[in-house]
Symmetry: D2
Subunit: 348 residues, 4 copies
């Protein structure tokens, strides 16, 4: 198997994780860790590494040993860095969010498609065993029709200097929604509320309410100020309800055979049609056995695989666009006092 | 000590709890359990009781042995039943919500004030040791200035035939907010989103976003369709953050010495004023020792005490009005696609 | 249906629970609550009750309206009180332990059998939905062969004036073992270690190690001095392992399809027979849906049912003897520095 | 600062962790990873490493660049490998247990002392922030006098081919006891029960009961067959009780101001001297803020520091001997049907 020569760009918070996982991926050959601050890149690699530290994007992109780059620089630089890589003919894996707005994102997907290059989003959570299980369960009809989604992602987080809590944390929730929702259930509009109680200059607590095309509602709560850490997603369905608790390693997924149903009055005898007929189902809960596996390892394998097999990755550029569209609409809603903002049709 | 003669009205879901706790309260003498269905009242009392079962509100209100009533009938009947009791000169304890709208509620508070009678809301949670501790902690400055409030109250609940999930569950959260918030931090406006994914004819999942006069935001999530039960409230403050988990009997309250703060740039040297200065504090967590005590016992004692001492109870009619005002505004917001609706000044 | 006239004897810690549940049991008619301290009995009944308070056991046993008694007096009085009741021709429900030693217990079972009266132990936990589920699961082969049992019952408990922690708490664990173990898996010998670190004059922390006839080992940890409350039992089997957490109302039972197995070397090719062949199975976990029901209600129903149907109750006198035999042997082991003490064959 | 040249010996389960942490320790310079299977060593290092893979202990010990070794080979080889290293003048860090019996262990400590070399045990848990906090709390009197210790370490573990569950898991618990107990509270005797319900040829479930010189009792439960993972230690004291839950990253330590106390009858008025006087204290719980830090990083720093400063490390050879003495006595007790076996005085 020929291996894909890779350069990691950005030696900040996430870069070291890319480096570590790239080194452990058989289909990749790590060539460079590149950062404007070459010393930082060197420190991340450590003194025992044969990987090259660099500070010149140009040099890295000019090296024929490099056929792909993984970009972990601030979002504001994604357009420039990723575009340069695509123009140099390199496949690109990019940190979420794809770019700082939808227009920029479209430039990148267009460039990649034009050149037949892989453009993949590092939507890491989509590669966890839990989300893969959820995706299969939901898309195979195991939860029935979607009734509601609720995602909470809160803890004492780093107040980012450049983005608000929505752009920092919600891409995780939104990309998971994107991966697990069945075809035909797509975000139609979003309303957002945010607050900045510490005077940070940007929202530190935010709530998103998303209307889905099937009529259900999704809600996301992201918060940098919570002393306790919660990462929970509930997917309520007509047949089953799934609860994903990412912080409970011994039981990350719980699938409940529980729910509330109403009967179609038309199927009932006339004298009962007046009242709402509700039935409750309280059955067992099943926690499937999940392999413990670092999601980023699977991200790297998917990147290498999609390059080798010349196919679209699970979290391709268009999934990045769909997340961007939601973030952009949410930001507009924040500015409009929480009014619903529609999601552009083409990205839905 | 002379005891207050009491009649409980309504032998449905909550009535039996009122009966049991009234019997255990030294300051009360339970005379009747009254229900339109006298047999139901009889079944609740059981065969070993000397308390009278009745089905005539008129008879009960005409009995001079009765000087107070506790009303646990559906909300739609509160105006009629409570007004009849007040007009008969009886003190009134009424289930939440006080009435089905603010106008009705005002009639009741006006009637009680005119006659000098106690009108008390059974905001049960306000009488739990946890909420009493929170109230004291917050109002004495222990959490500093309020940064945000977040309340989640979800489980597989009974879909009510007459009210939506907001009117069914949110009075609990709103009455606790009302009890614990310091003077000067009051709800100013509310936005609500709801959904009815099972076709029940009313919202089964709802989210409230409340603007507080101090600038902070409160959020409430109520849900009848969740397979898991959560009852958690977070009160984020500049000095400490409190987490109340009502379903964790061994640690209902956790007070965290954690938070994020920004510095006033004016206090900083000029070269640092450009950037946001944030500091993180991660200190210990203290779980105070709380007495385990049934809250409804304390409700009954407060009702008896306020009658005897001719004083206003902790959860008086005006607290009921403030909760009604929020619910009414939330309902209007639901109808207006989630737009913020202001809370009438006089009830704030 | 003719109802069984019942007297409850003992108005201390447990008596009020018997009174409350007896009143709610259709097959019973509660006649008396009897205590040496009649005022205490009166206080327990409260002022609204038609049940008679008494202080004369003789009077109660002489009343033909009483055909059964439920005894909740200290263990040291069980022989005298229960024997008097049996001699008066009354059926007897008695708190655990049956008596203070095996010889006394045998007097009681003999007397009941001689007279054809029901003698039932209030082994309350055996009537919880969780233990009933476990019993059925285990006895139907659902966990395979028993590999080990482990029970932990610790919290900040009342240091009893008359018994040590073993006699106070372990009857719960031992009676559950007795109820759930399949025929043919019985305690053969027990070793006990205890300590009294606070100078209470009796063991406050104790550990039991029990050899079962199938070769497996059961362990019980009881502790009055733990600041945290734990009530967990693990039943390890060759097919499944069940974990019962009595303090987790949302998931009291977890049935794991997990385990470790060894292969019979005889079934292996010669070159592999030297090494132990171990295989691990990590499958899903299922939490069965259990009805929430007060166990003592089921105790009362079983008592009434066994009297009416003239049959042996689930927790009959012989189950009480088997628990006594274990406690007595454990006490002897405590005195013998933890040496194993055999359980008399006849009670096994 | 001159760095200590290090070789890691053994590329099996634990070796990679030693390699990773050694590389991140400023005071160390990793020279070799040595394994009888050189390819395995190579795979552990990976293709991007400049560290040398080797298969000759002799070569490594003969290299003057190496002044210390970290040994992660099976326990049965510790005597040979560690002795060779000491004889070559190298400082030694060795996995627990120090050796397979006390006599071997003494040879190693004697050899190290004779040559003035550091001999350190990798008792990893002793270097966690939680245990360091416990050690300080207990030794400074914060929990008062020790009343009992209880440690549970169970999960679906690898059945080891060469050692039983006691030798595999209990060194963790015993080394922590050794680190946190105040001077003067030492193990005096141990009784052990074990069982092998799967026919593995060695105990897979075991319980240790340890008598401490102060009169208190410690208990350890280790288990390879549990479907759920528990790692909890309780240290009961007269002033406070500490609970360490190693699997709860958000609250690893809980310090309870709770307990039971008896009064000295001599201090009581004569009429009360007959009864045991017990008082209960239920105060708050404090969860101290602990830094999250990989313990093995601190092990490496302590190893480097003790070499540089020519001092004894926290977990020196003698702590290894004390753990060995307990394990050896426990094994003898297992063979003697659970009889107490005394711990040799010299190691106490």
């Amino acid at each position: 198997m020929e291996r894909v020569g890779l350069a990691v760009i950005g030696a900040g918070y996430w870069g070291p994780n890319l480096v570590r996982n790239a080194q452990a991926t058989p289909g990749l050959r790590l060539e460079y860790l590149c950062d404007l601050d070459r010393e930082r890149a060197g420190r991340v690699l450590g003194e025992y590494s044969t990987v090259r530290a660099g500070d010149s994007l140009e040099e890295v992109l000019g090296d024929p040993a490099v056929s792909a780059v993984a970009i972990a620089t601030p979002a504001a630089t994604h357009l420039k860095v990723a575009m340069a890589a695509l123009e140099a003919g390199k496949h690109v894996l990019v940190e979420k969010p794809l770019a700082t707005n939808l227009a920029e994102g479209r430039q990148l997907t267009a460039a990649a498609e034009r050149r037949g290059l892989v453009l993949m989003l590092d939507h890491t959570y989509c590669y966890t065993p839990a989300v893969r299980h959820l995706r299969e369960l939901i898309r195979s009809g195991g939860v029935g029709s979607i009734q509601y989604l609720d995602s909470v992602r809160i803890n004492l987080g780093l107040v980012q200097p450049d983005v608000d809590v929505l752009w920092d944390l919600a891409p995780h929730d939104l990309s998971v929604f994107d991966a697990i929702l069945p075809d035909g259930v797509r975000p139609v509009a979003v309303a957002a509320h945010g607050s900045d109680p510490i005077g940070a200059g940007r929202a530190c607590v935010a709530h998103l309410t998303i209307r889905l095309s099937g009529g259900a509602m999704a809600h996301v709560h992201v918060n940098w100020l919570s002393p306790t850490k919660i990462r929970t997603m509930v997917i309520g369905g007509s047949r089953r309800t799934a609860v994903w608790d990412d912080l409970n390693p011994s039981q990350r997924l719980s699938i409940y055979d529980r729910g509330v149903e109403t009967y179609d009055p038309a199927e009932l005898p006339p004298e009962k049609r007046e009242q709402t007929i509700v039935s409750y189902r309280v059955g067992e809960m099943v926690a499937p056995a999940l392999t413990e596996q670092e999601a980023l390892r699977a991200v790297m394998a998917e990147f290498a695989g999609s390059i080798r097999e010349r196919r679209s990755p699970l979290t391709d550029g268009r999934s990045g666009l769909r997340v961007l569209a939601l973030l952009e609409a949410a930001t507009e809603s924040l500015r409009s006092d929480g009014a619903f903002v529609e999601i552009p049709e083409e990205t839905v």
